[in-house]
């Protein structure tokens, strides 16, 4: 599955030449600590000329601390086909703030900018590789971009990236009085300043002296801790289409305009489709038949040209070519359903496994993907249209549990996509192993991966035998493991699952000494992850919920008895639960492990408890059992 909708990437912000002396020693110590970069000045001016065009000025002065800090080795100015970059300039100053060199225009490159998942996009980028061998040094650059099409205003991440200190970061929005806009602030230190220039106003946001933030584990959404400003138009024009963004309803109406009449199919096609579904008992069956039809007929090919970044290719186009991007394929599916009288809604979404959700209270263009929703009395049907393999009505972690904008006849409507709860996302493993006196083992391991955990094995069933074996060995890292035979049984239901059956032997499974055998008992599902032991200042987020249960039955050889056996463990916390129990009867040992996790954002104060919890799991998962020879 691939992401689309070429979003205007305006995260690149700014700085300013000015009279500042870029002497490294002038930077306050607390901005230098843990810093790879220190931004002297990051300045962006966005002057709205009318509802469809603007001038964006970018000015940046950044100190690069050492040779390992490479994010500013290239200066990058993205733009669109009908836009223009002017005044691309850059200079370098040494540690003491003395001028070193100036970028030559011959060093500026101007090339296509095509995302890796696209066949073609007409976006462009100007860039220059410009560095200096002596650190620290300061890079100063600026450029101006004429912006055409204002579906998006720039967002401002005042502290752009981790390990960056900021002396001053600023964004100025200059906007005529007759054009409305809106904004949303997260974690800002200072209020907006407004300057009246008569027919227009300047809105200015400034953040100063931001200490570097180190990257940390289990980060919650950026909006929980980083200084961010979202800007968006209220009235706008993009690619010749005017719209309103005052609420989701109106934003949806704009999209409706873009999709207008792009759902037309020929008479004969409509007849063909109606014939296909003639035996279907209800709408759901019709959808199933046509989804399969669409999956077999099309493939994902992304081509983004101009307004085509937001507007789907027509249904006719997809039908004749047999391909399209997420917009074109979702619109195509919409048309197929329409042809047989089933109503559906094209839906915009911010896709990505583990992606933050959109700001649902800030109607604006925050999406990168399109899917399709078929409303039902109870539980709507959701279709991912870019994959030929996706189970029917299963969104998976790519688009589950988040906001989506339905494009209805009456405009946009915000809804949430289905959430897969932990009882659905289970992994159930049963293993039977027989150990011989040399410590070698033979046995079988059967595992069912269900719901979101289906994704753990998604696509494996279609790989070559060698790839499958290598993949299995990369997840089951038991030394000496040989997989004699295996089988995957895939069930592409609405909640899909896959069953994995392995016949194995493990050479040297339990190392043998004169008297003893040492047996690591949990070899198929070890959780060794322990977060960093630190004082936490930010909340932390667990982004998935699931249940794992493992039962391993081991038959030990005659002549051995148990000398040492791990103690049972039972941990129940707000983060999840973990338990281990080991039973033994005769020469059969049964290991039972249960581990579940909750999806949530937890306050910083809970972090130590979480650390302790994971530490105990890691220890318990390492436990060994010792067998000793009977005399």
């Amino acid at each position: 599955m691939k992401i689309i909708l070429s979003i205007l990437i305006l995260l690149v912000s700014v700085g300013f030449f000015g009279q500042t002396n870029y002497n490294y020693s002038n930077i306050p110590d607390d901005l230098k600590k843990n810093a790879n970069y220190i931004i002297w000045q990051d300045f962006m001016e966005f002057e709205v000329l009318d509802i469809g065009s603007a001038v964006q000025k970018v000015k940046m002065a950044v100190c690069i601390v050492d040779q390992y800090s490479k994010k500013f080795n290239s200066i990058v100015a993205p733009y669109r086909k009908n836009e223009k970059i002017t005044g691309f300039k850059a200079e370098i100053y040494d540690r003491d703030g003395n001028f070193v060199k100036k970028l030559k225009s011959s060093e500026i490159h101007d090339v296509s900018s095509v995302s890796s998942f696209s066949l073609f996009e007409d976006d462009r980028v100007m860039y220059a590789d410009f560095i200096h061998g002596q650190y620290p040094y300061t890079l100063v650059y600026e450029y101006e971009r004429k912006v055409e099409g204002l579906l998006n205003y720039p967002s401002k991440y005042f502290q752009r990236i981790t390990n960056t200190g900021v002396v001053l970061s600023q964004i100025n929005l200059i906007i005529p009085n007759n054009i409305q806009f809106k904004y949303k602030e997260f974690n800002l230190g200072q209020e907006v300043k407004v300057t009246d220039l008569g027919k227009k106003k300047i809105y200015s946001w400034t953040e100063k002296n931001l200490k570097p933030i180190e990257s940390f584990e289990l980060p919650p959404p950026d909006s929980c801790f980083a200084p961010i400003l979202l800007l968006a138009p209220v009235q706008f024009a993009e690619g010749g289409y005017e719209g309103q963004m005052d609420n989701w309803e109106n934003f949806g109406k704009w999209d409706l305009k873009l999709n207008k009449d792009r759902d037309l199919l020929s008479e004969s096609k409509i007849n063909e489709l109606q014939f296909l579904v003639k035996d279907a008992k209800n709408d759901k069956e019709k959808v199933q038949i046509l989804y399969k039809y669409m999956q077999n007929k099309t493939r994902y090919v992304s081509v983004q040209l101009g307004i085509g970044g937001y507007q789907p290719f027509t249904a006719e186009y997809v039908d004749s070519k047999g391909y399209g991007d997420c917009k074109a394929l979702s619109n195509y599916m919409f048309s197929l359903l329409k042809a047989v009288g089933v109503k559906s809604n094209y839906a915009l979404i911010l896709a990505g496994s583990g992606e933050d959700d959109i700001a649902a209270d800030f109607p604006s263009s925050q999406f990168n993907h399109a899917i399709l929703c078929i409303p039902q009395l109870k539980d709507s049907i959701w279709l991912e249209c870019t994959s030929q393999q996706q189970p029917f009505n299963f969104l998976g972690s790519f688009t589950d549990d988040r906001h989506a904008l339905l494009i209805t006849e009456n405009g946009g409507k915000i809804v949430k996509t289905p959430k897969y709860v932990k009882d659905i996302n289970f992994q159930n493993r049963k293993a039977k192993i027989k150990l011989d006196v040399d410590g070698n083992a033979v046995g079988n391991v059967n595992t069912i991966f269900n719901g979101l955990q289906y994704e753990n094995r998604d696509g494996w069933a279609n790989q070559s035998v060698k790839e499958q074996k290598d993949a299995l060995k990369s997840v089951y890292t038991v030394a000496g493991l040989e997989i004699n035979s295996f089988r995957f049984i895939e069930n592409k239901a609405e909640i899909p699952n896959i069953q994995e059956q392995l016949d194995i032997n493990i050479q040297g499974f339990a190392p043998v000494t004169n008297k003893r055998m040492f047996l690591k008992i949990n070899v198929f599902n070890e959780s060794s992850y322990v977060p960093k032991n630190e004082e936490r200042t930010h909340p932390f987020e667990l982004r998935s919920e699931f249940i794992d249960s493992d039962t391993v039955q081991i038959e030990i050889p005659d002549g051995y008895s148990i000398e040492s056996i791990p103690q049972p463990v039972n941990l129940q916390t707000k983060f999840g639960g973990y338990s281990v129990e080991i039973l033994h009867e005769g020469n059969i040992i049964t290991y039972i492990r249960k581990n579940y996790s909750e999806k949530n954002i937890f306050p910083a104060k809970d972090y130590i408890a979480f650390y302790e919890y994971r530490k105990q799991i890691a220890k318990a998962d390492k436990a060994k059992l010792v067998l000793v020879k009977k005399f």
Partner: protein, 659 residues
């Protein structure tokens, strides 16, 4: 050099008539057989997502009045789509050179279509040249991208395009192997007698047909004839290429043929020989303004020369010169080319350059202070192996420096912090390099002066139900380089943090690092572990792992079969000594058995020795890899070798309470 040859083309006023082969083309556009349409599985690789039915290339020379010699490359490919994964094959791109001066490569013909069976009938979906997108990849490279239409599982897709290039002396390599299996790959090339190309084959598959012959053609309006050499190579049933661990670069393993212009002999024009020998190649380089001539030009780095005392010993001068270049010149992260793009003077004022430029500057500085120094041309691992039998300038992609000290070679690379004279980076250690001087060339083995090596001493104590240890690890050479770079880029704090994280159950109270900035000494790490929380030492029986530290637990060679040789690059030695004090009131109940495993001819060895000395248990554990390259046939051996090591790590020491 390129320009010289192109001007030569203008001396030639010949028109070559087209020739036909006696062999039939292996494929005809549009003629897809029933068998190809109905195929559902490729029986030689039943899991293939798609299979190349035919990949057919032809290369022809011809002459045009306005532009001289040209080269036409025609690629004709037919692919069967077998599964949904195989649909990606229908998105195609190829690149062209865009000179910006008019001498461009052009697509002069293009056809592409998809075949589907519908109700037993073949249905064709065509795309036109208009549906090919042009992407500007960089200043001089454009990519042509197209997508075939109506491609489904079961479709056959086919495309054919011809690229006309004015750069007739530069023929792109032809790859017989692909990421999917190929049934037939064939290349035919016709070369007029006036040009001689060297043909260099690579890969682990052999051709089923390899033919050469000659045909003749007449000059138009003349009875005089000339010869055309014809070559034809056919490869059959070529397996899909899959990347494996421990290889240099896929390019070294793919089945392919490359072409290098060797000579031109045109009537009325002097015979020209291009790079026929390594000696000649070296000589040409030394005479080039962009290489050899720059080396002896004085005053490039005057201010640095002045810092070196002319009366110092050679060793001292080398060290000084090396450090001065390293500290003053910034490597721009590119290998560049072996030539210098900018004059050495401008490199030294800009304080920045490619790897070749920085190291040539080092040679220049060494020479200007009277040290015997030479450039050594190398091919980095990512660039691929050198075939010593085929002298080609393109074999190399960068340069290191070499100084002679009392007859011994000292290799140097001034682009990387924490190296020292005598050491090269992992990526540079790729077989041999070519040392060039005015009068001769010499192959020098690219070895680091030291092995990948680490030695650890671990002192373990058990007291009050806690098990603590002091670990001292000394690391040298490339292993130390890797650590030093990590420490420098992450900072010490982060580096230590990462170690703690990897061993999250240990209570580490102290971690000191010494010599991280002094590459002349071993890197020392001293770690105090107050308690290994994951080991219980309170009961009547104490079980201790046979190896207490963070060693390998997984066999790096888990795959069942190996297709390509294994390349460790550098010999390595890892040695660990444990001293475990037996706690008061306990006796040794059982110790792991000592073992020693050796591969034939001592290629690699592992030994684990254990003994009780009074109140101490002493363990000496050593892993040594001496030979660095292994053939696929030796894979089982290596796998078995690692299995032994891991089994040993799983054993335990058992201590028993005295009753």
């Amino acid at each position: 050099m390129t320009r010289e040859i192109s001007s030569l083309a203008l001396f030639i006023f010949l028109i070559f008539s087209t020739l036909s082969y006696s062999q039939k083309d292996p494929i005809k556009f549009g003629k897809v057989s029933d068998e190809e349409m109905k195929m559902t599985i490729y029986d030689k690789d039943t899991s293939a997502s798609a299979v190349v039915l035919v990949n057919y290339g032809t290369i022809n020379f011809f002459y045009l009045d306005q532009s001289g010699f040209n080269l036409d490359l025609t690629v004709h490919k037919r692919i069967k789509i077998l599964t949904k994964e195989g649909l990606d094959q229908a998105n195609v791109n190829f690149t062209l050179y865009d000179s910006k001066s008019g001498d461009d490569e052009d697509v002069i013909s293009f056809k592409a279509q998809t075949y589907n069976l519908e109700n037993g009938k073949q249905v064709i979906s065509k795309i036109s040249k208009k549906e090919v997108f042009t992407e500007q990849k960089s200043e001089n490279v454009i990519s042509k991208n197209f997508a075939l239409t109506n491609v489904k599982v079961g479709s056959v897709i086919e495309y054919e395009y011809t690229i006309r290039s004015p750069y007739f002396w530069s023929i792109d390599p032809w790859y017989f192997q692909d990421e999917i299996p190929t049934i037939t790959s064939e290349l035919r090339i016709k070369i007029p007698q006036y040009f001689t190309f060297k043909k260099v084959f690579g890969g682990y598959v052999t051709p089923s047909i390899s033919e050469d012959g000659a045909s003749s053609a007449m000059f138009p309006g003349s009875t005089e004839s000339y010869t055309i050499e014809t070559y034809r190579w056919v490869y059959q049933d070529i397996p899909a290429f899959k990347v494996e661990e421990y290889i240099t670069t896929p390019n070294d393993y793919l089945a392919k043929v490359e072409f290098e212009l060797q000579s031109t002999q045109v009537p009325g024009v002097e015979y020209k020989n291009y790079l026929t020998t390594w000696e000649k190649l070296g000589k040409d380089l030394m005479e080039s303004d962009n290489f050899g001539k720059a080396l002896d030009r004085h005053g490039m780095v005057k201010e640095l020369t002045d810092l070196i005392n002319p009366n110092d010993s050679v060793e001292k001068k080398i060290e000084m010169a090396y450090n001065l270049i390293r500290q003053n010149m910034k490597w721009d992260d590119t290998y560049g080319r072996i030539f210098i793009d900018n004059s050495l003077k401008s490199v030294s004022t800009k304080k920045q350059g490619s790897m070749a430029e920085v190291n040539l500057l080092l040679v220049n500085l060494l020479r200007s202070v009277g040290v015997e120094a030479y450039p050594v041309l190398i091919s980095s691992r990512s660039h691929g192996r050198i075939n010593q039998f085929y002298p080609r300038i393109n074999s190399f992609n960068t340069v290191v420096a070499l100084a002679k000290v009392k007859g011994k070679n000292v290799l140097m690379d001034a682009t990387i912090a924490y190296l020292k004279p005598g050491q090269l980076t992992f990526n540079s250690l790729n077989g041999k390099g070519l040392m060039v001087s005015k009068d001769r060339v010499e192959w020098v083995p690219l070895l680091s002066s030291e092995q990948y090596s680490s030695a650890s001493m671990v002192t373990v104590e058990i007291k009050d139900a806690k098990i603590s240890a002091k670990l001292v690890r000394s690391t040298k050479s490339l292993e130390a380089l890797a650590k030093r770079q990590k420490i420098a880029s992450d900072g010490r704090e982060k580096y230590i943090e990462n170690y703690k994280k990897k061993n999250s159950s240990w209570e580490i109270s102290d971690y000191t690092i010494e010599n991280d900035n002094n590459s002349n000494e071993s890197l020392l790490e001293k770690i105090t572990i107050d308690n290994f929380n994951n080991i219980d030492v309170s009961g009547d029986l104490i079980y201790l792992p046979s190896v207490l530290t963070d060693e390998v637990e997984e066999n790096p060679f888990s795959s069942e079969k190996r297709e390509y040789p294994i390349d460790f690059t550098v010999p390595r030695v890892e040695k660990t000594i444990f001293n475990i004090a037996i706690p008061e009131g306990y006796l040794v109940d059982e110790l792991p058995k000592a073992i020693s495993v050796t591969l034939p001819e001592n290629a690699a060895s592992f030994s684990y020795q254990v003994q009780q000395v009074g109140k101490n248990i002493q363990i000496v554990c050593q892993l040594k890899i001496t030979r660095t390259r292994y053939l696929p046939a030796e894979y089982e051996l290596l796998k078995e070798f690692y299995k032994n090591i891991i089994a040993k790590y799983g054993e335990q020491i058992v201590l028993k309470k005295i009753v």
